[in-house]
C-alpha cells in the first residue's frame, strides 16, 4: 500500500475527521432545535394557562 | 397447529392454482431476465461464477414478486381477521405461508432451471444443485414469509419488500452462488460445497427459528 506524501495524505485524513465532527455537530444542532421548540411550547402553555 | 397450518396451506395453493397470481409472474420474470442477461452481457453461454451469479440473482429478484403477494389476499380482503386465533395458530399461519412460498419457488425453479440450461448455461446441471436449491428455498421461504408479514403491516408494501428482502438474502446469495459456482465450471470439483452448505444451513436455522419466535407478535390485531 502506497504511503502518500504528508501533505496529500493530510487532506484525506482531515477530510475523514471533518466528516465525523460534522455529523456530530449536525445531529446536535437538530436536537437543539427540537429542544428549543419544546421550550417555546412550554412557555406558550404557561402564558395561556 | 399442524392442522390449521395445512388447512391454510391448502387454501393458499388452491387460490394460487385458480388465480395464478404469483408463480406465472415469477416464472415469466426469470425467463425474461435470462434473455436480458444474454443481451446485457452479450454472451451466448455462461459458465462458472458468471452463470452461478446470473442464476441466483435472477431467482432472488423473482422471489420478490412472490413475497410481495404472499399476504396480499389477507390484507386486501380482510381475511386475516378470520384467521386470528391462538398463538399456536399464528405460528401455523407462518408455517403455512412459508410452505406455500416454498412450493411456488420449487415450481418456478422446475421450469426456470431447464430454461436457464437451454438459454445460457454452458455445462449441464448437476444433481448436487438439488441440495443447494432445497436449502436455499428453505431460507428464502422463511425469510420471505417474515418480510411479507412485516411489510404488509403498513401501506408501502411494494416499496418495503424489495428493500428489506434483498439485503437480508445477501448471505443466502453468497452461500448459494458460492456452492453452485464449481458445479457450473467445466472442471467441477465441489470441494467447498460443505462450507457453503454449512453457511446455508446456519442461515436457515437462525431465520426459521427467529421467524417462528417472532411471528406471534405480528398480526396481533
Amino acid at each position: 500500500m502506497p504511503a502518500l506524501p504528508l501533505d496529500e495524505a493530510g487532506k484525506y485524513v482531515a477530510g475523514a475527521y471533518v466528516v465525523f465532527v460534522a455529523l456530530i455537530l449536525i445531529y446536535v444542532a437538530i436536537l437543539g432545535a427540537k429542544i428549543a421548540r419544546i421550550a417555546r411550547e412550554i412557555d406558550e402553555m404557561a402564558s395561556e394557562k | 397447529m399442524i392442522r390449521s397450518a395445512s388447512a391454510i396451506l391448502r387454501k393458499d395453493l388452491r387460490l394460487e392454482a385458480r388465480t395464478k397470481e404469483s408463480v406465472p409472474a415469477m416464472l415469466l420474470f426469470s425467463v425474461t431476465a435470462f434473455v436480458l442477461f444474454h443481451f446485457g452481457l452479450d454472451r451466448d453461454s455462461l459458465d462458472g461464477e458468471l452463470a452461478s451469479g446470473v442464476l441466483w440473482v435472477t431467482l432472488l429478484l423473482a422471489s420478490v414478486i412472490g413475497v410481495t403477494r404472499l399476504f396480499a389476499a389477507e390484507r386486501e380482503q380482510g381475511g386475516i381477521d378470520g384467521l386470528l386465533l391462538s398463538p399456536a395458530d399464528r405460528t401455523g399461519l407462518f408455517l403455512a405461508k412459508a410452505a406455500a412460498l416454498f412450493v411456488y419457488l420449487a415450481l418456478v425453479e422446475l421450469v426456470a432451471l431447464p430454461a436457464f440450461t437451454l438459454l445460457l448455461l454452458g455445462p449441464g446441471l448437476q444433481p448436487e444443485l438439488l441440495l443447494i436449491l432445497l436449502l436455499a428455498n428453505l431460507g428464502l421461504a422463511s425469510v420471505g414469509a417474515l418480510v411479507s408479514a412485516l411489510a404488509s403491516e403498513g401501506r408501502a408494501r411494494e416499496l418495503v419488500v424489495p428493500l428489506m428482502l434483498l439485503p437480508l438474502l445477501t448471505p443466502l446469495l453468497i452461500a448459494a452462488a458460492g456452492a453452485t459456482e464449481p458445479l457450473f465450471s467445466g472442471d467441477g470439483g465441489p470441494e467447498d460445497l460443505g462450507r457453503w452448505l454449512g453457511l446455508l444451513s446456519l442461515y436457515d436455522l437462525v431465520f426459521v427459528l427467529l421467524s417462528v419466535a417472532v411471528f406471534d407478535y405480528l398480526l396481533d390485531d
Binding site: 485524513v13 475527521y17 445531529y27 429542544i35 411550547e41 | 417474515l146 445477501t170 453457511l199 396481533d220
Partner: protein, 230 residues
C-alpha cells in the same frame, strides 16, 4: 422515566475522552510504516463501525424487551439506538471511502470484508424508516419495528460471517488494519478512541431520548389542559 440522569457526567466523560483520543491520534500514535499518515483515519473509522454495529444489536435487544414487556419506552430506546447507528453508519461508509481512496486510489474496494458487510447492513437498516412510518397505528408500528429490529440484529453477525467467508476465497486476507496485532501505542490510542465513540453514542442516545420524552410529555400535558375546564 428520567433519561437525563447521569447525562452531565456522561457528557463530561465524552468530551474528555474525545479530546484525549484526538490528541493521542495526532501526537502520540506513531505513523504507520506501510500506510503512512493515511492510517490515522483508522482511529475514527473503525470505532464508528464497531459502535454502530453494537448499536444495531443493542437496538435488537431492546426490541426484544419491548415485545416481551409491551412497554413503549423500550421501543423508543430501540428506535433511537437504531436511528443513531444509521447515522454513524453513514459516517462509516464515507470515512471508509475516503480511506479507500487514499490507500488504494478507488472510492470503494471490495477487499475489506468489514466495509462490504457494513454496506449490506446499512442498506438493510435504511428500510427501517419506510417500514415504521408506513404503519399508522402506534402500537402496530412499534411492534413491527421491534420485529424488524430483532431480525436485522440477528442478521448482522451472520452477514459478517458470510461476507468474510466469501472474501477469504477471492481475496486471501493480507493483514488488514482492522485485525491483527497493533503495537502498544497504537492499541492504546485505538482503545481510547473506541471508548470515546462509545461514550459519545450513549450520551447522544440519552440526549435524544430525553428530548423525545419531553416532547411526548408535553403533548400529553397539552391534551390534559385542553380537556380540563379552567
Amino acid at each position: 422515566m428520567t433519561y437525563a440522569r447521569g447525562l452531565k457526567p456522561l457528557s463530561i466523560a465524552t468530551v474528555v475522552a474525545t479530546v484525549v483520543g484526538f490528541a493521542l491520534v495526532f501526537f502520540y500514535a506513531p505513523v504507520d510504516a506501510d500506510q503512512g499518515f493515511v492510517q490515522k483515519i483508522f482511529y475514527v473509522h473503525v470505532p464508528m463501525a464497531i459502535v454502530a454495529l453494537c448499536g444495531f444489536v443493542a437496538g435488537g435487544l431492546m426490541a426484544i424487551k419491548h415485545l416481551r414487556s409491551r412497554d413503549p419506552s423500550w421501543d423508543m430506546r430501540s428506535y433511537v439506538a437504531i436511528h443513531m447507528s444509521i447515522i454513524l453508519g453513514l459516517g462509516v461508509l464515507i470515512t471508509g471511502a475516503i480511506w479507500a481512496k487514499a490507500s488504494w486510489g478507488h472510492w470503494w474496494v471490495w477487499d475489506e470484508p468489514v466495509l462490504v458487510s457494513f454496506l449490506v447492513v446499512f442498506l438493510l437498516y435504511c428500510v427501517y424508516y419506510p417500514l415504521r412510518f408506513s404503519i399508522e397505528d402506534p402500537e402496530r408500528q412499534a411492534r413491527a419495528s421491534s420485529v424488524f429490529a430483532i431480525a436485522a440484529g440477528a442478521f448482522v453477525p451472520i452477514n459478517f460471517a458470510a461476507v468474510r467467508l466469501a472474501e477469504s476465497f477471492t481475496h486471501p486476507r493480507v493483514l488488514s488494519q482492522t485485525g491483527g496485532d497493533l503495537p502498544g501505542e497504537m492499541r492504546l490510542t485505538f482503545l481510547v478512541c473506541l471508548a470515546a465513540m462509545a461514550l459519545l453514542f450513549v450520551t447522544l442516545w440519552k440526549l435524544e431520548l430525553t428530548s423525545k420524552h419531553a416532547a411526548m410529555s408535553l403533548k400529553r400535558l397539552r391534551t390534559r389542559l385542553a380537556a380540563a375546564p379552567s
